[in-house]
């Protein structure tokens, strides 16, 4: 039986998160199909059909799916998904919102945040903020997974030539309505896929000082992240939070500035290849995971670092 992957997109572009989910699916089997549900999202279906390894794309195009409301998309996925061995989605906020609803409709369990595929029914996933790794076996006929994008390489976006089937059955629950959206706009790379991330914590002192982080980030072509304390203090918006309950990142280089290194923050970045910590407290726990630690006042060290790059 084939594996169904739920495409993550904004009605115009297929998000890279989808490509990571495709790679995870390819470790389970080789008959891979993608569902694109959205509104006026024909171009996304075209992009999905070119992804290497995909044999078929399902397109469900309707206003009801325009904002990915789980109340409308879940019954669509559950109905289509009945004929698949596995259903995968990236573990983004969209995937996490949708997949448990699909699971309950199908009366099956769901493995959240899978980081390794051990077999068709056996997976690894972090629990307790990544302080333990569980190996779990799914006992259901249809296996549902959300996959952590940083744990799987992206599949090639080109090379495939899948056929497209349009789904016409409409699921509009009327339970919820989209009202508005405040989407942070930035010219910097996306946090979860950037090769370099510079994050600031409570040590930044205020929102204006984050300009120091931004300048350093721009010099490195990096994305900007933050600790929860920095978000809670109102220095930066919530979509920048890295950690157990924020975004999971695993760049080649992660620079933590004025961040103490609480386990909940480490849960979101400790799989980075190289970690740099700049903190004035030499006892800060962040130094226990940092490859390179610099004990210094960030207000001197960060501008100095920027000027030397």
């Amino acid at each position: 039986m084939a594996i169904l992957i739920i495409a993550e997109h904004d009605n115009s572009t297929l998000k890279p998160a989808t490509l990571h989910a495709v790679s995870a699916a390819a470790l389970i089997g080789d008959d891979l199909e993608i569902l694109v549900a959205g509104e006026s999202c024909q171009s996304v279906a075209e992009q999905a059909s070119k992804v290497a390894g995909i044999s078929k794309v399902y397109l469900a195009d309707d206003t009801a799916y325009g904002h990915q409301l789980a109340e409308n998309v879940a019954p669509l996925v559950a109905e289509l998904g009945k004929n698949f061995s596995h259903i995968l989605a990236p573990s983004t906020t969209t995937g996490k919102n949708l997949m448990p609803r699909v699971a309950a409709l199908l009366d099956v369990g769901l493995q959240s945040d899978v980081i390794a595929v051990e077999g068709a029914d056996t997976f690894k996933r972090p629990i307790y903020a990544g302080n333990a790794i569980a190996t779990v076996r799914s006992l259901d006929e249809i296996k549902l997974l959300t996959v952590r994008t940083t744990a799987f390489d992206a599949a090639a976006a080109e090379g495939g030539s899948a056929s497209t089937e349009t789904l016409t059955e409409l699921y509009d629950s009327g339970l919820s309505r989209f009202i508005s959206e405040e989407v942070a706009k930035s010219d910097r790379p996306e946090l979860t896929s950037a090769p370099v991330v510079v994050s600031g914590g409570r040590g930044m002192g205020n929102g204006e000082n984050f300009a120091l982080i931004e300048r350093l980030a721009d010099k490195l072509g990096a994305a900007v992240g933050a600790s929860r304390a920095a978000v809670d203090a109102g220095f930066v918006p919530n979509d920048m939070q890295v950690g157990q309950t924020g975004k999971i990142v695993a760049p080649d280089l992660y620079i933590a500035v004025g961040i103490s290194g609480a386990i909940q923050h480490l849960a979101g970045m400790k799989d980075s290849k190289v970690i740099v910590a700049i903190n004035k407290d030499e006892e800060a726990p962040i130094f226990q995971v940092a490859d390179y630690g610099l004990v210094a006042d960030l207000f001197e060290a960060v501008p100095a670092l920027e000027s030397k790059l």
């Binding site: 448990p100 190996t135 989209f178 370099v196 919530n238 309950t245 970690i275 670092l305």
Partner: protein
Amino acid sequence: MKVLVAVKRVLDHNVKVRVKSDHSDVDLTNIKMALNPFCEIAVEEAVRLKEAGIATEVVVMSIGPKAVQEQIRTALALGADRGIQIETDTMPESLSVAKLIAKVVEDERPSLIILGKQAIDSDNNQTGQMLAALTGMGQGTFASDVEIQDNEALVTREVDGGLQTVALRLPAIVTSDLRLNEPRYASLPNIMKAKKKPLDVKSAAELGIELRAHTELLKVEPPAERQGGIKVASVEELVDKLKNEAKVI
């Protein structure tokens, strides 16, 4: 309007997690347990709705062995009116939890049901969404703001790109994110009062829900240890290391 809050007993978030030496699970013997932080926020939100005159009653429920009564009492001390414990031998999986909560929803008929967005032990982030499917309700997950207007809940959600606001027809399910509110501390008089508030105990079997296993836990391991690195003495040395040793810039 009645509000139902489901809370989970988990290990305290300040406690260091240890994996059992036989790798069968995490070791929870003699470990400090607490109310899941997201559930604390869920209780606080319900209590605020009551204080604002919007909610008339706040019912708190928890599923698990007798010990979960401790967390129900904590929620009662924070201002919930009465508690329900659904007794099970072990902590059931998310789908079973959702089925049991759905049964209580059927009996209690609340207008709003608030859960935490995730339990910090399983890190599942599933139960609220599953409950919404089982009860056929709308879901406002990862909520950072909730407003009740007419017969709808306006929920602002923390999504990857920023914030999204949706309107849900009541009754509806909300799952709380960290910034929904800052929970209060229970005062000593309220802790005393909580001891006298009603707490109903029912067994899962009494509710007629069959608890099926969907997942088998094969092994629990500690994560790969990260080797601590070195301290550099200056910004110059840092740049040199990043360029010539780590080769990441």
